[in-house]
Symmetry: C2
Subunit: 233 residues, 2 copies
């Protein structure tokens, strides 16, 4: 009988795990205000230090958010991957070109899957996001947001939530770089046209076409960003 190394669980970890379980069970829903430290202290019968360390753990996992007064159970789109990708970037464990490449792999394939699985609602959502991009041509912020939403709509249409999360995390990390394309003359208009082509292919259920259109789109955007950086540097 081999006893694996016994990992002593700290009290703060027990509290953290219990809270995670509650969030997982939807007993704590996104946006709900969390109990105060004092209440948690009494509920679990532990010291305040342990409660606070548990909260720090949840916070660093992106599950809760300290908003001045009171800590809230966040989630909504709780995406721990975003934190992780950010961390890997600051650790210089990964670099932007690598993120672009993985993004290309995932989004191209996602377009193909979306063409096979999309519902009418998905198509409507994508069309709506394209509308928003048209309206947002005068506002960088709105344009970029709508662009992100369009690509996320495609990811959603794959019915693969991990794909959505990974894509979201990568795009968040690339946010700055992606925002810069708005400054490139003609780029937003071209993206718009390409988005429409992608949507058409997805609506037609043509997987190969959707993949190809998405690949073209991403390659062009990448080229534009490279040009902009070269010119700026």
């Amino acid at each position: 009988m081999i006893h694996l190394p016994i990992e002593r669980q700290r009290v703060c970890e027990l509290v953290a795990n219990h809270l995670i379980q509650q969030i997982s069970d939807r007993r704590l829903k996104p946006g709900d205000p969390l109990a105060t430290e004092r209440e948690l202290t009494q509920t679990y019968g532990v010291g305040r230090s342990s409660v606070r360390e548990a909260l720090r753990i949840l916070e660093s996992k992106g599950l809760i958010r300290s908003a001045g007064k009171g800590t809230f159970a966040v989630a909504e789109y709780a995406n721990p991957l975003q934190h992780s990708v950010r961390l890997l970037l600051t650790l210089q464990e990964i670099a932007l070109p690598e993120l672009f490449e993985v993004r290309k792999i995932l989004e191209v394939e996602a377009a193909g899957l979306a063409a096979a699985r999309r519902t009418d609602d998905d198509l409507a959502e994508m069309a709506r996001r394209i509308e928003e991009m048209v309206e947002g041509l005068s506002s960088q912020e709105r344009y970029i947001a709508a662009d992100l939403q369009f690509h996320l709509a495609i990811a959603t249409a794959t019915r693969n939530r991990i794909a959505v999360h990974v894509m979201q995390a990568i795009r968040e990390a690339l946010h700055r770089a992606l925002a810069s394309i708005f400054q490139i003359p003609g780029s937003p208009q071209q993206s718009l046209a390409q988005h429409k082509e992608i949507l058409r292919a997805i609506a037609a259920g043509n997987q190969d076409e959707a993949r190809q259109r998405m690949r073209e789109h991403l390659l062009r955007v990448e080229g534009d960003i490279r040009d902009a950086l070269d010119a700026g540097a």
Copy 2:
């Protein structure tokens, strides 16, 4: 002049960020023993609570690891993504089939990229891992480990570190399911043969062939696992 909401930085966050910076600068290398809480307290001139909360933050990000006596700066393969994927699983925010699908997308494309970029060292590494799988045919643990290493070697050959990290995280989450194939009669031998085909295609620099072989391999493994689960259930 618009002042963005001032995010009050907690002391523990300042300490955590400073330590992250030191790890990022390689001033703290993987395996190095971290300063004691008392030392950190004196170094930064803050209270022990703050130091401890900072350590909990780093720990939950997977940057350090408490090993009974003394906390160590970990990493070497510090992979925050592993924690995140695990968390998403426990939150039931994602499910295993979705992970299998993303794995397929990434690994198939990785095989293609590896065929284009692999060095002789990469090929030698892959061959070595196949050898290990042969030797490990009698030991589930060794076989599974060698299998993982073979696939990671392919990822490494892509020269895309984020791909390596994501694949590693997904495989870690799938570890149980993947380990079960060892129990299926003939499956390890088939995998072995397919691995050799994949390696041959990568060595030949044939991207399409590599992708196709990898796709076949992953589909077969997935089928085996499904069969095993159906039979077991």
